[in-house]
């Protein structure tokens, strides 16, 4: 069941490199197994966060105060590209991230965020850059505010930006709706579709069973 998201005022950390892929967000070996949830937070961004000897990499932003407490990421283009692993979203969530602001996201990662109550916000690159500059000007101490209902972002210096979001997704996040439950309420429509489709495309339903 996804958590609801309404508004948030929090520390934000800029991670501005392009094409941060889901392998970089969470390595695959952390995701092998059916009980990995709850163990992932400390492995998020592992290859950036830790040095080869396992100690923290002081150069990585999320290892520095106050960014350690970030609940918002401000990201470079194509954040979350690559694999479909939802563990990428889980790991960010487990380290406390609730919203991500960037100019573009990997399509599957973007969808996975909504499924977990994390808000990905798409705004123009100029806005992302200006937000990042604003945050850095306060050494990270300035808070960023996101209001999903009003569809606004306010930077630490008070600059307000608006953003677009799919109205259906917005509603789902505001209410923390469970998509499976909602779709199952329409099961009669799914069954009606399949009934008609069996006549139109019987080969879909008889895989390997015609002989």
């Amino acid at each position: 069941m996804p958590k609801a998201f309404d508004k948030l005022t929090a520390i934000a950390a800029p991670i501005m490199r392009s094409n941060v892929d889901t392998d970089v967000i969470i390595r695959i070996e952390r995701l092998v197994g059916n009980s990995v949830r709850g163990t992932l937070g400390k492995w998020a961004f592992g290859s950036l966060r830790y040095l080869p000897d396992g100690s923290e990499n002081p150069a990585f932003i999320l290892n520095r105060d106050p960014y350690r407490l970030a609940e918002i990421l401000v990201t470079g283009p194509n954040f979350g590209c690559g694999s479909s692993r939802e563990g990428a979203v889980w790991s960010l969530q487990e380290m406390g991230i609730r919203a991500i602001i960037g100019s573009s996201f990997g399509d599957i990662f973007f969808a996975n965020c909504f499924q977990n109550g994390i808000l990905p916000v798409v705004v123009d690159k100029e806005i992302v850059d200006s937000l990042a500059a604003d945050i850095e000007a306060t050494q990270g101490a300035g808070r960023v505010s996101i209001d999903l209902k009003a569809q606004t972002i306010v930077s630490p210096s008070g600059k307000q930006h608006t953003f677009e979001v799919d109205p259906r997704r917005r509603e789902g996040l505001l209410q923390g709706l469970d998509e499976i439950e909602l779709t199952l309420r329409r099961d009669y429509e799914i069954r009606a579709f399949q009934g008609a489709d069996r006549g139109a495309r019987p080969w879909i339903y008889f895989a390997g069973k015609q002989a």
């Binding site: 092998v32 694999s83 499924q115 998509e179 499976i180 199952l184 099961d187 019987p202 008889f206 002989a211």
Partner: protein, 469 residues
């Protein structure tokens, strides 16, 4: 003027709409749901914990590929890999889902077995909890990867809520030059449009080079759609598609086959269909490609030089190139050819089909893997393995010093513990050269099977055209 023609995407999409959800979002029917060992049992257990059952087990199929060892006899599958395999067996049996198990015909990388078994068909909506599901688009299917939550949604409802993507039309025109393969074309496209160039799009690949290309080549092209940001890629079905599918175990037969083919013939985009973006690639200018960095967009021709950050004006791009070169341990401005390699990996859902193994064997035949190089060949499926053995390809590889292994995803993503060592360099036929993809601090260069085999023999990145026969 009348209504513009419809695209292949629109025709498939519209046929699957159960109900519109908003202006641009629909509840779509899913025709085929493919499960694998990494996420399959997790989804089935999630469903169970919600007190739900699988909506259409007969449209759901499973195989282990990600977490199993590819060593002979599957020796070395980790405890957790074995647990996942056991859980997949139990949960698919309980739910009445057919599973293609290890050592059985049909087992293999999920994106290799779907087309091979005739499970994947033109006009189908196919989903799987794996981003390379776009591979199946090579048959004219609308196929895409989904996350864990969506996977459970499909198990529960046999449907998925999706926003209709924009459409991109990529035409590869002209004849492939010697030594150039489907892999080189799609890598060149990613270099051209960038790793985010296809974000939000479904890409239809067309043009004379695609028409002339084998189905296996088209599957390779579609496989890398996600590496240009597009979660869906597809090729219009044609006579080659039908010939490829005819007689496959799960393809329709007899009268139903005729009926299906008649429907599939109506799928290609209309001549006056309008796409949101058009890209034309002159295939004749493309030479064998190899990546140099940490994104598939970091790609050059094998006779090119590694980029020099000093020559890049934009500070963000310059920094990105510096980061990549630092990770890869490469010298700015030097020729990429001649870069020594430690590993060669021939396999993955991109390039592990019979034609890929033939192309690699052609280069390997009668030659020897260079001293100090470990070279693996991991066939994509049990069927590919058996066909390759019947042709003697395994012997060609083994005689040349390659290791011949069991089918699975293996070192492409290293989920089964098969890794390239820290700081070591691999030429791989897989799909991602991301940081740590093949193991912590491993360095990956993506290339075609023939180019990878050439690198194994030469012990360095090599222009395969110098080793042709």
């Amino acid at each position: 003027m009348g209504k513009p023609g419809r695209t292949l995407l629109a025709k498939i999409w519209d046929q699957h709409v159960i109900a519109p959800m908003s202006e641009d979002t629909d509840l779509l029917h899913v025709d085929r749901h493919l499960l694998h060992d990494l996420g399959g049992s997790r989804g089935l257990l999630d469903l169970k914990s919600r007190g739900l059952t699988v909506h259409n087990p007969e449209l759901t199929f499973a195989t282990p590929d990600h977490a199993i060892s590819t060593a002979l006899g599957r020796i070395g599958t980790s405890k957790i890999g074995q647990d996942l395999l056991a859980a997949l067996r139990v949960e698919t049996t309980t739910s009445g889902i057919q599973m293609f198990d290890i050592d059985q015909p049909g087992q293999g990388i999920v994106h290799v077995i779907g087309p091979e078994l005739g499970l994947s068909l033109p006009g189908c909506v196919i989903v799987c909890g794996d981003s390379h599901t776009c591979t199946h688009g090579g048959l004219g299917a609308l196929a895409f990867g989904i996350g864990s939550s969506e996977l459970t949604h499909v198990l529960a409802t046999q449907a998925l809520i999706q926003r209709r993507p924009k459409t991109m039309h990529v035409r590869f025109e002209g004849r492939l030059q010697r030594g150039v393969t489907a892999k080189d074309l799609i890598l060149a496209l990613i270099g051209h449009v960038g790793a985010a160039g296809g974000t939000g799009y479904a890409v239809e690949y067309a043009g004379s080079a695609i028409r002339d290309m084998s189905i296996e080549g088209r599957l390779t092209i579609c496989n890398l759609s996600i590496e240009l940001g597009a979660k869906m890629g597809l090729v219009a079905p044609d006579e080659k598609t039908f010939e490829f599918l005819r007689g496959r175990p799960y393809a329709p037969q007899g009268e139903m086959w005729e009926q299906a083919v008649n429907a599939w013939r109506r799928l290609p985009s209309d001549a006056d269909a309008v796409f949101d973006r058009e890209v034309v690639i002159d295939v004749e200018k493309i030479i064998p490609q190899v990546t140099w960095g940490i994104s598939p967009e970091h790609v050059i021709g094998v006779d090119d030089n590694i980029p020099d950050p000093q020559a890049i004006a934009d500070p963000a791009r310059r920094a990105a190139v510096e980061t990549a070169l630092d990770y890869m341990g490469l010298k700015a401005g030097a020729p990429i050819a001649g870069t020594p390699v430690d590993w060669v990996f021939i396999g993955s859902c991109t390039n592990s089909r019979l034609s890929d193994l033939r192309a690699a064997a052609e280069i390997a035949r009668g030659r020897k893997v260079a001293p100090g190089v470990r070279a693996w060949v991991v066939p994509g499926s049990e069927t590919v393995k058996r066909e390759a053995v019947a042709e003697g390809l395994d012997k060609v590889f083994v005689d040349a010093g390659f290791e011949w292994r069991e089918p699975g995803c293996s070192m492409c993503l290293a989920a089964n513990g098969e890794t390239v060592g820290p700081g070591q360099r691999s030429v791989s036929t897989s799909n991602r050269n991301f940081v740590g993809r093949q193991g912590p601090r491993a360095r990956t260069h993506l290339a075609s099977p023939a180019s990878a085999a050439a690198a194994a023999i030469a012990g360095a990145i090599t222009d395969v055209r110098t080793m042709g026969r």
